[in-house]
Amino acid sequence: MLVLEKRAERSALIAVASPLIAIVLTLVTIAILFALLGKDPLFALKVYFLDPLNDPYSLQEITVKATPLVLIGVGLSFCYLANAWNIGAEGQFLIGAVCGSWLAVVTHGTEAGPWVMPAMLLFGAAGGALYALIPALCRVKFGASEILVSLMLVYVAELILDYLVRGPWRDPKGMNFPTTAEFDSVATVPILIEGSRVHLGALIALIVVAGAWLLLSRTIKGFEIRLVGVASKAARFSGFSSDRLILFTFAVSGALAGMAGIIEVAGPVGHLQPGISPGYGFTAIIVAFLGRLHPVGILIAGLFLALTFIGGEMAQITLKVPLDLTKVFQGILLFYVLACDSLIAYRLRLIRTQRKVAHEVANGPA
């Protein structure tokens, strides 16, 4: 029988190797799936993973897709490192988009100058942070589960956005469709590469990754976050308040999610509408864990996940396989990541069951 046995020490080797093992196992599984679907598995993997990397357009689109994932993922890693469970980044993303869009809507058609876009980003970040503080405060003040509260607030955020674009902010020329008017050019995020959709947000994401890395590895705050996560009692003895830390990490993660939201709206979308996020806030949870809660890891994981989306589309076009395969694929990946992670603290051991041992004692080994 196979059992999981707790390791005396966490295995450092497995900690590094685990996501790689997970990716390899996923690739093998997906290759088997392709083979079962009657497609050449090697060709399928090439279409899925290599072709997008060979094509400048796909590379640009991977960047566009990865930008919100990385921004949100980095924020979430702060929470998760400190053992605070923010599941509601999707809601913070939407509220950030709403708060930033407010400026775009009120300045629409006015002579407002180039201060609008930076101010929108600030509003988005502030809105996301405040929205994230609701579950954090509920946790700290009333002991409410931050997992449930943050998750439920996603639906509230969706409905707030819905109400606004359906009512007060609706584009009068939009045939009753629930969307604001197209943002003015001062209210949009500038494009970085001419002729593509790669926007300033990509650069902001890189800066955030670098900043987060500095903060986590070089500052007391970073030490505090990691310490509370690993040994909360020890942290309390050293005078760190876990309550304050929950508020801090939620605020940071909400701010980054909110900023991702307004960047997405003021960038690729160009106006506020429902359905601006195909679940970025939830996908970013996978990104955060796949990236080992490390900023650079998250950057790589974000790009990798974006690759699975773009590759998934290429696979639909070239191999004529259904979209569900992409979803199955992401699910398998998360499953293997979590499974491999348990090997850091546990090891697999083959033991014989009692009955079999007794049987062998009586009759000799089979």
Binding site: R166, I317, D324
Partner: protein, 359 residues
């Protein structure tokens, strides 16, 4: 000798290359972008039926590709562009929300033809097409008025855009021709496709006492609720009789297949032109599923109305169309409202005891 050999080889090569490129050029690559999964058994499914019909009729002269579940946000622009980049020369984008992304991509690929469903913005290489769904609604309204014991229709709306609002109005005008006191309860689910929300809306309507459900959303979820609660419902986009063998009275069936085949042929012959196609029962772009679960007199009435609309004898929005305030709507089409008025309808007619959201 050597020269002849070279000439022969060159000729052979040229010939081979020529026939190769001719073969490749003949095969028209057609792409489709779907809002839901192909298995939604409603809106997207009918477009998929159209695609299969193209494959059936045109065989290996074409190659088709579809992208499903493409959200109406920033992903749609990429999905459309991916198809254009991979050499698809005719691209159908099958949801209203793809309108601006379609136009953006079309600008970058002037030699690719785009067909956008239910939109109103066109370009040199972007045409639009849609069905006169309101014609079917009128028939359904009459059936509902005959079949409802309580005189209340439950209506599940997606978005309060003109297409949906004109459907509600057509239903009411049809129903009022039978029962002037008919009522309608509307729930907006703010999505085209979300079986969970659609089912919740249907349950809420049944709990509020409606005994007939009509929907303008894409899945058969409401039909299944109607079947399990023992009331009647109308299928939408597709014949949903499988999901409500005892519940479905009829269904509006979107029949895109002939149009798709025709446009593909035009593109193959180099005769494709941007246009605005809006067809109804007469051209069979809108069709009615068999009239079921109703007495013969209702069936007869429905069949007659269908014939009258098909022949052009009956226009759904015949003047005077009376607004909620009791005043007639301006009659721009002579005998009836003109197409522009129907396509931009953003008010309810008299008898709808509700208010257009956001107005």
């Amino acid at each position: 000798m050597r020269k002849i050999l070279i000439a022969a080889t060159t000729a052979a090569l040229t010939f081979a290359a020529g026939s190769l490129s001719a073969g490749a050029a003949e095969k028209l690559k057609i792409g489709l972008v779907y809002l839901g999964p192909v298995g939604d058994f409603g809106w997207t499914y009918q477009h998929e039926v159209g695609r299969r019909e193209m494959v059936k009729v045109l065989g290996d002269k074409i190659e088709t590709t579809y992208l499903e579940n493409v959200n109406e946000g920033p992903d749609s622009e990429r999905a459309i562009e991916q198809l254009a980049r991979t050499g698809h020369k005719l691209i159908f984008t099958t949801s209203f929300g793809y309108m601006d992304p379609t136009l953006k991509v079309a600008k970058k690929f002037p030699k690719t033809f785009f067909e956008h469903s239910t939109g109103f913005k066109r370009a040199e290489n972007v045409g639009t097409y849609s069905g006169r769904f309101y014609e079917g609604r009128y028939i359904q309204g009459q059936i509902a008025a005959k079949m409802s014991k309580k005189g209340v229709i439950g209506y599940i709306g997606s978005f309060p855009i003109p297409e949906v609002i004109s459907g509600i109005n057509a239903t009411m005008i049809g129903a009022q021709s039978i029962n002037p006191d008919i009522k309608v309860k509307i729930i907006w689910v703010n999505t085209w496709f979300d079986p969970g929300k659609e089912a919740d809306a249907a349950k809420a309507l049944v709990d509020q006492g409606v005994d007939i459900i009509m929907q303008h959303t894409d899945s058969p979820a409401a039909m299944q609720i109607a079947e399990s609660r023992g009331i009647y419902a109308f299928g939408q986009d597709s014949d949903m009789i499988k999901f409500g063998p005892k519940a479905q009275l009829t269904a509006i069936v979107n029949n895109w297949a002939p149009y798709y085949v025709q446009q593909a042929k035009l593109a193959m012959d180099g005769k494709w032109k941007s246009g605005d196609t809006w067809q109804g029962l007469k051209d069979k772009m809108v069709m009615m599923a068999p009239y079921t679960n109703m007495p013969d007199d209702v069936k007869k009435l429905a069949t007659e109305t269908e014939a009258a609309i098909t022949s052009g004898k009956l226009h759904v929005f015949k003047c005077p169309v009376v607004g909620q305030d009791g005043k007639p709507i301006e009659c721009k089409g002579g005998q009836n409202l003109d197409d522009g008025q129907i396509l931009s309808m953003n008010y309810y007619v008299k008898g709808v005891d509700d208010k257009v959201p956001g107005k």
